[in-house]
Assembly symmetry: C2
Homo-oligomer: 541 residues x 2
């Protein structure tokens, strides 16, 4: 039995021992772009943290999981009170939370989950399903809705791992973290291939509940496309979708459960498609003349036969700034600087491509990609720059902690659009962010990369950095977030490509699915969760 | 404006001029397998057909589409009273229908559809959306539910075709038939690539509403995977899903509309992903040592890099019988006979593989496939046998008419399962069909092919042929259908891989989605169609 985990920073991302520092050149770039930063002063000890009092829970609920699996001390309540978005971290650093679960329950398995939901439905206790707690959109915010009590249901013990080697499927427990799931599969020589930036801490259940996409999703497929069948334990009943490769028996209920973000019930396990572990991984970097040129290369690849497993094009701003910030300075930046010097230009767009699989498959697909890259006038920078990206692929959130500590607001957001609308979306959202930052007196950086390519379009992933408005951090963030979201909606794009809706994107759901769509989702919610205990305030608000 | 179409047999499939005949060898094979047939006597002239009287419709409904677009004569009512399943054809040949729409309405566009649904919802008139009328599972049966009046809503005039060349998407009207949609796309050098056996008469709206799969779906993708966005006009409102390539904004409502079989509302148009028209098509035949060996080859292909666009493995029985029946005798049968003679064996499994695309892509992918085929000890039969299959790919339903006329029951059914369960499913369903036929005193043929391959499994498509039980044709069919369906359910497989649920599969929906799943679908139905006018008796019963 695994209790609620405590192996990451309670106030930030991941392993406390990993603390990247910026070198002088990076600091200079940052100062040039966002002005002087004043180190963020607010940061309390855990023992001084202010939390609301916990409401007492009915004994039946405690008995449902056993007293030893009910955790109500401050640290566990704090660790289950937020996700890992900028706003979450800002609140945590303030040393005070207005909302926290009354307790964390850690059920031993699906039967206990069922029992917990029964009791909570009867007694009107809100339930927040909790996987890795890595939501950046308020997905695990302890919002009580119309209820006075709330528990966080930590699924860490749902650890099934059953492999069908012949069909290349695996039933994986919701509580398995990315590396844990891969370790189970590796025993069979298999791989899932789902690598979001949160990979090290996020869980299988969370991947399914949020319709996650990973860095290699162009090749392996988004998480939703990897799901062969899924189970949902809802207050009003249990739903298991058939594990056949395809069915024409009506609407696909699997797609109602995937992405349901805990508002219908709990996903105890997911059956996913897996594949043989790749024998080779080859990552390399290229430089395109511009973001537009890089985008056109990716379009050609996505609409032709040669789409790599990983494909990523940074816009000119991201190329310049992220290389400056992502120490250690060296390989990538050195190569890139050399290229720019050679071309006597300041601009260029970094392209990362990655291939995974059998040696022969990597060689074959790389040849197809290289042809398009060269046709699009991209220049090869080599494998070391690619490996440098690969090694740093999960480092973004660590760097964010460093920057927050220095007094910077750092946030990301993502969307997707068809190829026809991608240029306007890139320009519109970038301007909206920069204008909002400037209008608040905190001019900042907004950069973007294209990170998931489809035959009909791609996703854009924006990062922005600015000086914190001291004492008004959340208001500052809200203004930028609103401006960016409105630009996304105005462009007819989706409010989220892979971060999910959580609490933050609720205001944009009507633009996303329309009022009839909202009515349908509410009807499903009423059917499955008639007393509204499941993850109140998320997805539908 | 296109009225209700009359360009196919009202009593059978397709072009009346196409009437394949069996040669002596085929007749001998048939006699040997199913006994002597007595030509089906029952077949009346259209003028003698007995139909129930039509209920009068409110004037407002007539006005909604204009009087000239309301068709209430016998032929149009008959043509909209059934699909094209064996039971439908049996009823039509009897010269009498117990149910028919009161009229056929042919709206000019989406606005008129909306108006029709408003009036029908208010007045309690059942509505059956009608595309090509090619359902083989009772999908357009004029079942009134709790209503006394029923109209067939023929979508023939919903003929939008807007192409986004850059994003490779096209918005296609629900009323476009397969060849019409392809003709529109061909003007842009594009192709949809969706070729179900009903291709020539079925429509875009029907493909979406039934979650169709085509013969080349291993390569082009099933229809559901081609849908980028979809629109639904429901009595309670309109729903349009976002046209972005992907979104993580909650459950995918697109997947609730796709496969909804008209029970939630009308699909006026669908935006699909398209691709450049292939420059080359290469079809070829191989022979595997057995169905099991052929299946293993397909599994290797589907789990590796070389899956062809078309892949199809006939079991030993289908290989033998279908070659005997599918005149003209010649290329395929000759080659195959030669092979069997050479090997001095009676058995073998015909494998059809097809590649479409750029010459280079065809060559590259074929090389990968050939390697697996040879590794699995399959023997190459050549392109002419493959072309022979390609040319006859839409001929099955014509041959069925011939056989019915001769006094044979001919029906097909399909399912899918993971690779691990496929062998048991093949054996179980085959036995169930044969046993049911034998127990009725009409021993017959049951054969099967694997026709859609996925990394985790495949579909099986069964055909059965037996002597009609004269005067008890429908009861005979019901017994076999029930036996086969129960075998499918007992194997944990899906009740339908691509024919949809319609009316025939309703009894198996609980096994498919569970009682909670049914409750969810009913909740969605109640939300979108509160007065239950949309296609009563289908999908949910």
């Amino acid at each position: 039995m695994i209790g609620p985990r405590r192996d990451s920073k309670w106030w930030g991302w991941g392993d406390p021992a990993v603390a990247p520092q910026l070198d002088q050149a990076a600091l200079a770039t940052l100062r040039e772009r966002v002005g002087d930063l004043r180190p963020s002063s607010r940061m309390v000890e855990l023992k001084d943290f202010e939390l609301p009092d916990a409401e007492p829970l009915p004994q039946a609920l405690v008995d449902a999981v056993g007293e030893e699996n009910v955790f109500a001390d401050a640290e566990d309540r704090i660790r289950h009170a937020t996700g890992c978005g900028y706003v979450d971290l800002t609140r945590l650093r303030s040393g005070r939370l207005e909302q926290a679960p009354d307790a964390v329950l850690v059920p031993a398995g699906a039967e206990e989950v069922k029992r917990v939901l029964e009791i909570c439905a009867t007694d009107g206790i809100a339930v927040v399903p909790f996987g890795g707690g890595t939501s950046v959109v308020g997905g695990v915010a302890p919002l009580r809705g119309s209820h006075t009590r709330l528990v966080s249901l930590d699924l860490a013990n749902l650890r099934a791992a059953e492999v069908d080697n012949r069909s290349l499927t695996a039933r994986l427990g919701a509580g398995l973290r990315g590396p844990e799931a891969e370790a189970e599969l590796a025993q069979h020589g298999l791989v899932l291939g789902h690598y979001p930036q949160s990979f090290e801490y996020a869980t299988i259940g969370g991947f399914a509940a949020t319709r996650s996409a990973g860095q290699a999703s162009s090749g392996y497929g988004r998480f939703d496309s990897l799901v062969s069948s899924i189970r949902l334990i809802a207050p009003a009943g249990e739903l298991t979708t058939l594990g056949t490769p395809h069915s024409a028996a009506g609407p696909t209920l699997r797609e109602l459960v995937v992405g349901s973000e805990g508002i219908f019930g709990v996903i105890p396990d997911v059956t996913v498609r897996v594949r043989p572990a790749p024998r080779q991984r080859r990552y390399e970097a290229w430089i395109a003349e511009s973001f537009e040129a890089g985008t056109e290369i990716v379009r050609a690849l996505a609409q032709g036969p040669g789409l790599p497993d990983v494909i990523r094009v940074s816009d000119e701003e991201e190329t310049e700034v992220s290389l400056a910030l992502s120490g250690p300075r060296g390989v990538a930046a050195g190569l890139f600087g050399g290229y720019l010097g050679l071309r006597r230009r300041r601009n260029g767009s970094l392209v990362i491509v990655g291939f995974e699989g059998e040696e022969e498959s990597v060689a074959r697909r790389r040849a197809l990609s290289v042809r398009e890259l060269r046709r699009g006038a991209a220049v090869y920078l080599g494998q070391s720059a690619g490996r440098s990206w690969e090694h740093g692929r999960y480092q973004g959130p660590y760097l964010r902690d460093t920057l927050i500590e220095m007094g910077a607001m750092v946030e990301t957001l993502e969307t997707s659009q068809t190829w026809s609308g991608l240029g306007a979306l890139h320009a519109g959202v970038g301007s909206a962010i920069r204008d909002s930052l400037a209008s608040q007196g905190t001019p900042g950086i907004a950069f973007c990369h294209l990170s998931h390519a489809y035959p009909d379009g791609a996703s854009l992933y924006f990062t922005f950095i600015a000086r914190m408005r001291d004492g008004a951090e959340i208001e500052q963030w809200q203004q930028v977030k609103r401006a960016a979201s409105e630009a996304i909606v105005a462009n007819g794009a989706t409010i989220t490509h892979h971060h999910a809706v959580g609490h933050d994107h609720v205001p944009y759901m009507e633009a996303e699915v329309g009022s009839t769509g909202l009515d349908v989702l509410r009807a499903v919610k009423d059917q499955l969760d008639p007393t509204g205990i499941m993850n109140p305030g998320k997805l539908l608000g």
